[in-house]
């Protein structure tokens, strides 16, 4: 018998993601990978997987899945409202807690709660194609597993091996909300007027509905450029904040184009990236300046915290 799950409802933006792919920017292929790295790792740990295993990532509304096969553990992370359906009976699911599911059980990931991304890990090895050592789906270039496309209604995915340890795993974790996103000044910071710089670090912006895995578009007071609204195209990274001629900042996210020609006003500090991607459209965002050495120290602390969370499971 092959173990598999069927996608009854795919959800809004449901893909397979893992740790992403390295060393391909020079040919135009972005990093991709799970948007919220901490929640991705926690999902794998709770499901008893290696930390870099593929998981299902979804945005806003997740998939509704029916499982067929031998008993398997699953875990959901993020801030997610979900149900597990056993023999027609609905059970409210808790994030950060593994569940053993049986053949015929369903998982309905109803929605994210005031956040964007959630993760579902199966305690086993999903039968997925790897490209450049990663199954991460990049829907723009059609790279990765599932022919580089989002998951669709009705499709089935096989599970090759199921983890034998199916003990209950649980941790208490609450996703902290951020008030300020810390930003290191970018190489073109001085392209902007004194007023523009002030606006950037002092005013609130709201996250536009046009945000996706490629980028987060912001709306708010315009940031005036006094030098040149274009630069010679150069490399981009996740977290880079570009300001095009219209004065509205765009933050590059994991599937970003590898080069771009708009001035870079700043770069989001790595410590705040996981939390940045979870800010939902319509929410407010405010930037706070940080220097390099503080950013490095804070990231170290954040990573230690992630490790502690993982070690507790």
């Amino acid at each position: 018998m092959t173990n598999n799950f069927e996608i009854i409802r795919a959800g809004v933006n449901t893909t397979f993601q893992d740790q992403g792919r390295n060393n391909l920017y020079h040919i135009g292929i972005p990093f991709s990978g799970a948007m919220d790295n901490r929640n991705y790792s926690l999902a794998n740990k709770l499901a008893g997987n290696k930390l870099n295993s593929p998981v299902i990532e979804f945005a806003y509304q997740g998939p509704h899945i029916k499982y067929l096969g031998e008993n398997i553990n699953i875990a959901v992370t993020g801030d997610i409202v979900f149900k597990i359906i056993k023999n027609g009976t609905e059970i409210d699911g808790n994030c950060y807690e593994s569940y053993q599911i049986e053949s015929g059980d369903e998982i309905n990931l109803i929605s994210t709660n005031k956040s964007v991304y959630g993760y579902l890990a199966f305690g086993g090895e999903l039968d997925l194609k790897f490209q450049w050592n990663s199954c991460s789906i990049n829907t723009k270039a059609n790279i990765g597993s599932n022919n580089g496309k989002k998951l669709e209604n009705g499709q089935k995915v096989n599970i090759l091996n199921i983890n034998s340890d199916q003990s209950k795993k649980k941790t208490n974790y609450i996703n902290s909300k951020v008030e300020n996103i810390r930003v290191i000044k970018g190489p073109n910071f001085d392209y902007f007027s004194e007023e523009g710089k002030k606006i950037f670090f002092e005013k609130e912006f709201s996250v536009s509905k046009l945000s996706d895995r490629m980028g987060m578009r912001l709306e708010g007071p315009k940031i005036e450029n006094i030098v040149n609204t274009n630069i010679k195209s150069e490399g981009l990274l996740k977290g880079v904040i570009q300001v095009p001629a219209d004065g509205n900042p765009i933050i590059m996210l994991s599937d970003h184009g590898t080069i771009g020609g708009y001035p870079k006003i700043g770069v989001v500090a790595s410590v705040d990236y996981d939390r940045l991607v979870q800010i939902s459209p319509g929410s407010k965002i405010k930037f706070k300046e940080i220097n390099l050495s503080d950013a490095e120290t804070l990231f170290k602390l954040y990573e230690m915290d992630t490790q502690n969370l993982l070690n507790q499971i």
């Binding site: 391909l24 723009k140 270039a141 790279i143 190489p187 150069e234 390099l292």
Partner: protein, 225 residues
């Protein structure tokens, strides 16, 4: 030579080779890119060479700006002068169904279609960088009288294989994508092939490209072989 090394955020080094765009500066960028690639350093995630910048991004869990900066400063770039650039011929069909912006080019440049094609196909182009979308080559330089700005309103969908111009550069859309360049023709060649993991790009930074005009018949039968 690198004019300045600074940090780009907390997980990348920004190597600035100057502000101009020319082959000699870009060759320096490519030299550093190749030398670093050859070192194959585990903590380095990505290298992005462009016209006059090289961005080196690293895993902040394994290293930091100070260490990577030092590594770049001490890099022996002269050892790696294997400037093995390839010369690649790209067939292009400029049938009306493909040269979507030929009228605009004629108007903006104030030269006839025939003269535009004659000029375009008579030159060799240097690949400054690849990217934006996977495998897209940025080729230069077009003659002064061949330079036009981007479209005022970019297309939502540029067909795969489109060969297009903007300012001093030509490029090739490796797959269907939004884009604002002026489309001159279309190539039947797969410039990016994601089934080839080792060499997905037909054209790489430092390569020389020549375009060869083909007719519609040849275009249509190109992939039958």
């Amino acid at each position: 030579m690198i004019k300045n090394i600074s940090n780009l955020g907390d997980a990348a080094v920004y190597c600035d080779f100057g502000v101009e765009v020319n082959k000699s500066i870009n060759s320096e960028v490519i030299k550093y890119f190749k030398a670093l690639k050859k070192e194959n350093i585990e903590s380095i995630n990505n290298l992005t060479p462009s016209y006059n910048k090289l961005i080196v991004s690293y895993d902040l869990r394994k290293t930091n700006f100070r260490e990577v900066k030092k590594l770049i400063e001490n890099l022996n770039v002269n050892e790696t002068q294997d400037n093995n650039s390839n010369k690649i011929e790209i067939p292009v069909c400029c049938d009306d169904q493909f040269s979507l912006d030929i009228k605009r080019l004629e108007e903006k440049l104030n030269i006839s279609r025939d003269k535009i094609l004659e000029n375009f196909f008579s030159k060799e182009y240097f690949c400054y960088m690849t990217g934006f979308i996977a495998g897209m080559p940025f080729l230069g330089d077009l003659d002064e009288n061949m330079r036009v700005p981007r479209l005022e309103t970019p297309r939502v969908k540029v067909p795969k294989g489109s060969v297009a111009l903007t300012e001093q550069f030509a490029n090739i859309y490796t797959f269907e994508s939004p884009g604002g360049w002026n489309i001159l023709g279309n190539t039947p060649v797969d410039v990016f092939d994601n089934s080839k993991e080792l060499e997905p790009n037909l054209i790489n930074p430092g390569d020389i490209v020549v375009f060869k005009q083909i007719n519609l018949e040849k275009y249509n039968s190109y992939n039958d072989k």
